[in-house]
Symmetry: C3
Subunit: 256 residues, 3 copies
Amino acid sequence: MKFNNRNVCISPRSKIGSNVRIGDNTVVYDNVEIGDNSIICNDVVLGEPLGTYYRDPDYTNPLCSIGANSVIRSHSIIYAGSRIGAAFSCGHQALIREKCTIGEHCSVGSLTDLEGEITIGNYSRIHSNVHISQRTVIGSYIWISPFVVVTHDPYPPSYDWKGSSIGDYTQVCVNAVILPGVQIGKKCVIGAGAVVNKSLKDFSLVIPAPSRIMDVRKYVVMGKGRVYPWMNRFDRGMPWEGIGYDTWIRQSGGAE
Amino acid sequence: MKFNNRNVCISPRSKIGSNVRIGDNTVVYDNVEIGDNSIICNDVVLGEPLGTYYRDPDYTNPLCSIGANSVIRSHSIIYAGSRIGAAFSCGHQALIREKCTIGEHCSVGSLTDLEGEITIGNYSRIHSNVHISQRTVIGSYIWISPFVVVTHDPYPPSYDWKGSSIGDYTQVCVNAVILPGVQIGKKCVIGAGAVVNKSLKDFSLVIPAPSRIMDVRKYVVMGKGRVYPWMNRFDRGMPWEGIGYDTWIRQSGGAE
Amino acid sequence: MKFNNRNVCISPRSKIGSNVRIGDNTVVYDNVEIGDNSIICNDVVLGEPLGTYYRDPDYTNPLCSIGANSVIRSHSIIYAGSRIGAAFSCGHQALIREKCTIGEHCSVGSLTDLEGEITIGNYSRIHSNVHISQRTVIGSYIWISPFVVVTHDPYPPSYDWKGSSIGDYTQVCVNAVILPGVQIGKKCVIGAGAVVNKSLKDFSLVIPAPSRIMDVRKYVVMGKGRVYPWMNRFDRGMPWEGIGYDTWIRQSGGAE
């Protein structure tokens, strides 16, 4: 039901391999090449034009290639000028900007944003909700977790972008930040929430300063309201709306 | 103007309740059930097929149900195999994967990504830009703020996923990270930016190590460029482009 | 190829300036005004109706204005009731809610979420994947990096929202969190991953507690599995699938 040829727009100047399926509402621009047996789902944009497209009447779309046996899930946007190897897979609503070079057997998760001019080796997996800045070099067999951000501008804004690199087999855990120009070695682990502000040799582990655990009932915030309990101060849309939490607990016999 | 029946695609094998409105460009797949009085906005996908759909000719779409009186905002994608209770509301561009079970009176914000196999109780609110991993169990009356991430793989990549759980009435603040297999008690507060790496009993508060405050005029970054001031080194698109910040301040009489 | 007038829907009660281009699948609702020479790409929604639209038969869409010479990239959603100045530019899949007032020469990146009731001066740049809460006041010449979140509820959930403000020329780096009601002065730098929990005078720099660097080969996680090496425990989709990493390294002559 995804492939009804409904509201589809495919440029005659694209090359579609054999046994390729293209979903409804999808657009394939000029100079896109899709390898055999690939599946392009609905509402996808392949070969999204660069900025000059809008103002330059002589604009020509750079080549965008997707390797064989790939799956591009719905609502993803892949720019002209990026080249992606075989057996690629991509989540929903992903954004891959121009001049990315991605090897074989890689994947990119939903809502992930590759900002362009990024090189990725083979067999590397980037999960959902990741942001990778321009000029980043990512090796092979690398795992990048959600909400990781790799930066490139050492003191934004500047003209002095410094891409970072990540060595083979390295694992980067959720919410980690890699600062500009940092060279991360092979087989490193960047822990959840760590901020990497210097280059790391092979086998490095980085973990953030530990959080503290307290009793919430003793904690006051902003010098005024207490963080806890919220149930006595807020009722919109809650089952105790208009009657108060304590009354509701009593009436409903709910466990406090 | 959202409901013109333009480019809509509804499977005859879906069950649409009475007084349901379905927006333009929306797709409803096989075996989707929508409760009475619900509003499905434009460009929504309900019952998105699982991965086997693409290669298996005998694929059957699992049931996807949306309770009565729900509102699904535009560009959201809800997979086949997820069941959502009544009075649900959902922001734009949200993604809810397969095998989620969500109770009544819950909400999910824009750009939030529920990765599948997630259980949520009643009256729980998940804000925008949140990422919840598989096998997470979320109780009732829970508030989850933007950019929270709940993980499930203790040492990615592994086959040893450990879902986390969050107890009733707990508040999870922005950018908090919950590590795999962590059991968070009831009525806890997870502070902004905290990384939770162990299970917590009821009434726990977790806050991250404090940030330090300094004077930016004394701070040098990367051994070269100064973080501040940026105005003297960068002018693209700024009103001082080509003339320099100091000249522009003098000419415009702008306050430094 | 983006402007074929395919599946476009423009309200007759909108005002479109001269030399405006509107992309395929785009919707322009009632009371939208678009300035001269602007480009509205494909799959954009301008003037997205407010919540009352769905249930109130007398609903009238508030004014939504986009200044001249602006570019709105594909799949972005801008609500009714927001006013944006000239020379605005916007990435893909951005979301700008109601009652935002944005000055001239500003930009908003892809997948960024402005939650409404936000004021932004002139020449300010908000990058991709940013989340700004209601009632935030952002000055001019400000740079906000990816995954920054500005909050507004001091102890969620509450009815006591406190918008934060950011002074002119301030730089906010990736993953920084600004807590509710914080007033940040002019020409400050908020470092990557910093949590700002108090107001800051001009020229302040905030940086998070430092992460620690260790040797990953000595580190055990969760009392059970080792973080490193993952290659011996996980092989799905990897070139050593079924034969083991050590055998594959030996056979392929790959460098360990």
